[in-house]
């Protein structure tokens, strides 16, 4: 089976010649759920940005990013812009700064609807309301008329999800989507993400430093360190004891602090295990 | 091109500017090359200001010709071996007048900085460190003064005291003092809120001790930057006043007045109108760059690429 999104030998260098990513490769099947973990500075967020061609000024990416066999790195800017939002969308870590403070949430959601789907006026507003309900933003009318800074962190991240899913992308890149949120809200947003992936069939790349988060939502796992891929395996295999020493180290550390399944009787273990159990079996999930 | 037609001084803009005030053209990538290296704007600014200072000092003891010497040259001549800058309509040597003008510009810049510095710091410290009603009162006065254009203040003072070098200096200095006061107040208030100052108080350090040990070292780089920019604005403002005939009357040589005098004859001898303008640009650019350079050097938050 050919992959939906395939990253091959992706290398990112800064203007001073430093390599931030070094030969990163992984693949994601349609409807797949890939977790990319690593400590900060391991290059995991940079990978997501490189896939979308949104690297900071002065950085250069080489290698290939194949979406359905088409190399995104080689696309002219205009075609790449059509892919962004339309085929591959992204949710960022900090939902407050990721939204324009001077524009109402409603207008920010209808923007991509108009851009990719040509919806405007009442049609766009209806669709925005549907998306808001999809991400469980109750009190839809009030929220669509609000500015981002009038909402809570969890609400903002739901808005960001609604924007990302607005044009029914095939891949959703989520970069630490719950890190900036309160602990209780983190769980809600993760459940929502899990639910949305199920419901829309979008393939998920979840970038995080938080192994329990990956265990809860993802099925495959890429472990990164210093800009390189340490291990590309399944979450289950990693939890059972990964091949690479660094993976085992990460799993061990996470187990000591939080309740990662397979570990000792730490708090929350039951919840995570339950979430893992709710996850559909791989056979059902592939469409 | 701010000082002379500025409503506030250019420094005031610095205060309200979004982010750090606009940066230097050549300053990109400074961060990467390490903190040891001096910012290019600092070096260029220091060289330009140094040039004006040296010329101004030399003019005190020596100029190629006496300022009122009309005997040797022909009138309205272009640059020649005998008169590097040419001569004016009375046959006087332009270079000598330009050199004297440098001294004049330095005096104006230094004296305005002194007036603004002393007045502004006094008001700013008072506002930042005392009771709330004193703060509010002083601050509203300062804000009113900042909104009051320097040129209008100068005209007001000239109307009352007559055109003179000191009128110009007082006007520019008082305008600048408003800006310095605001900057000082913000920084003093900020430093006094810091935990280490509270700790110093708790440890028994007196008020003056806190000001000298903690406030002054924290505030002076910002003040120095503002004073440099103020100096640039002062040179521009004085040139404008002299150009309008409201500055120091002759025989004081001011670049602004030289320019004004040469304007009517500039079709015959354009250098008379070009050189004084260039001299003003060199002095103002130098002071502005010096200010930017000091900011880059001392402000750890300033990003290298701005």
């Amino acid at each position: 089976m050919s992959a939906l999104l395939e990253v091959q030998d992706l290398t990112v260098t800064t203007s001073t010649g430093r390599r931030i990513l070094d030969g990163v490769s992984w693949s994601l099947d349609a409807g797949g759920r890939l977790g990319v973990v690593g400590e900060s500075g391991s290059g995991k967020s940079m990978t997501a940005l490189a896939v979308l061609g949104l690297l900071p000024d002065g950085m250069r990416a080489t290698g290939r990013v194949l979406l359905d066999g088409e190399d995104l790195l080689a696309l002219p800017p205009r075609r790449l812009a059509r892919v962004r939002g339309g085929q591959v969308a992204m949710v960022f870590q900090e939902p407050l700064t990721a939204l324009d403070p001077l524009m109402t949430v409603g207008r920010q959601i209808t923007g991509p609807l108009r851009l990719h789907r040509g919806l405007r006026g009442a049609a766009a507003r209806e669709e925005a309301a549907r998306l808001a309900r999809l991400v469980h933003l109750d009190d839809t009318e009030r929220i669509l008329g609000s500015y981002p800074w009038q909402l809570s962190g969890g609400q903002r991240q739901r808005v960001a999800l609604a924007m990302a899913l607005a044009c029914e992308p095939r891949v959703l890149l989520a970069d630490e989507p719950t890190t900036a949120l309160d602990v209780t809200v983190q769980a809600e947003v993760l459940d929502l993400l899990d639910h949305l992936v199920d419901r829309t069939g979008v393939a998920l790349v979840l970038v995080t430093h938080d192994l329990p988060v990956v265990a809860r939502v993802a099925r495959d796992l890429v472990v990164m360190r210093d800009g390189r891929v340490v291990e590309h395996t399944s979450v289950a295999a990693a939890l059972a004891g990964g091949e690479a020493a660094y993976t085992r180290e990460l799993v061990g550390a996470a187990r000591a602090v939080t309740g990662l399944p397979g570990g000792g009787p730490a708090a929350g273990a039951a919840g995570v295990a339950a979430a893992a159990a709710r996850r559909p079996a791989p056979e059902e999930e592939t469409r | 091109m701010t000082g002379e037609l500025t409503t506030t001084t250019p420094v005031a803009r610095g205060v309200d500017a979004p982010a750090a005030a606009p940066g230097t053209p050549g300053g990109s990538g400074g961060r990467a090359r390490g903190a040891r290296r001096l910012p290019p704007s600092l070096v260029v600014g220091a060289v330009l200001v140094g040039l004006v200072a040296v010329v101004g000092l030399v003019s005190l003891v020596w100029t190629p010709y006496a300022l009122d010497d009309t005997g040797t040259g022909e009138r309205l001549a272009g640059p020649s071996a005998a008169h590097w800058g040419g001569t004016d309509r009375l046959g006087r040597d332009l270079l000598s007048q330009l050199m004297t003008g440098a001294g004049n510009a330095l005096v104006v810049a230094a004296a305005s900085m002194l007036v603004a510095g002393v007045l502004g710091v006094a008001v700013g410290v008072l506002a930042g460190a005392t009771r709330r009603w004193v703060d509010v009162t002083l601050l509203s006065g300062v804000d009113l003064l900042i909104a009051f254009p320097t040129l209008l203040l100068a005209m007001l003072i000239v109307t009352v005291r007559g055109a003179s070098l000191s009128s110009a200096i007082w006007a520019i200095g008082i305008s600048g003092a408003a800006v310095i006061a605001r900057v000082t107040r913000v920084n003093v208030a900020r430093v006094l809120r810091e935990d280490y100052v509270t700790a110093a108080h708790a440890a028994g350090t007196g008020w003056w001790g806190v000001v000298l040990r903690h406030v002054v070292p924290n505030v002076w780089p910002t003040l120095l930057v503002q004073l440099m920019l103020l100096g640039g604005g002062a040179v521009l403002a004085e040139a404008s006043l002299s150009y309008l005939g409201l500055g120091a009357p002759p025989p004081n040589a001011s670049w602004g007045r030289l320019l004004q005098e040469a304007q009517s004859t500039m079709l015959v001898q354009p250098w008379g109108a070009i050189l004084p303008g260039l001299a003003i640009v060199v002095a103002v650019l130098g002071l502005n760059l010096l200010g930017d350079g000091i900011r880059e050097r001392t402000d750890p938050n300033l990003r290298g690429d701005r």
């Binding site: 979308l52 | 009051f148 500039m266 640009v281």
Partner: protein, 318 residues
Amino acid sequence: MRAALLRIGALLISLVLASVVVFVVLRLLPGDAAGATLGVGTTTDQLDQLRSELGTDQPVVTQYVQWLGQVVRGDLGTSFVSRLAVADLITQKLPITVPLSLSAFVLAVLVSVPLGVIAAVHRRGPVGVAVSAVSQLGVAVPVFWVGVLLVLVLALQARWLPAGGFPRTGWDDPAAAVRSLVLPVVTVAIAMSAVMVRYVRSATLDVLDQDYLRTARSLGYGRWHALARHGLRNAAVPVVSILGIELATSLLGAVVIENVFALPGLGTLLLDSVTSRDLPVVQALVLGLTAVVLIMNALVDLGQRAIDPRLRAKEVAA
């Protein structure tokens, strides 16, 4: 609404304060209007007579109240020099100064906003570096020198435009009037643009670093489209704050530049009256120009509130 009223109240207080300061400064500092008018060698009797005629023998507070009452009725006093009503003198000059400073302001905005945005977007490219360098140089250049150089090149040598003056018939000959204002307008606009470009560039650089711009691009907006959709409005908040100062700058620039181009506008009037110590004219003009600056600042504050909903929300909370 309440905030707008409060801001207008604050404006009125500043206006009154400014008028008190100007009034007092013109009377309390050494030098006396009567002495200044009559000049050297006058007798004490003459001085006393003029003082009672001017009302300057009254206490300052009485003088101020009387004067304020007259101003409110539209009477700005009589010029010592020309013996004409100050209000008429000023009205005559407005058709030169107002078009001059307004067009310079508009031209400067039209030039500096696109230049500043381009300079920010291409901050490391040759265009960005060039714009930054030119504006850094530009803020150091005296406005009257720009005027003088333009006259030298475009008027005296190329003979494209008049070097100065204004048609005697005024706006009855619109073409001639416009021609005589072109160089002054360009001069003031150049001076203002140098400052404004730096502000626009700095504000745009700030916006370019913001996450929401990256979000917009991740949704498929192109670089410029994203900047137009999110950047301009956000960058406008700090830029608008200097528009008030800049309009005042254009007025004051006009004052200086009218003297370069021998335009008989407010600036020339102000300079003449300062030189001849024509107190009522100086007082009226200084206060009038200050009032324009203060009113502009108030409008700018209200404009910022209109752009930024956060400022409005803060008020409701407070």
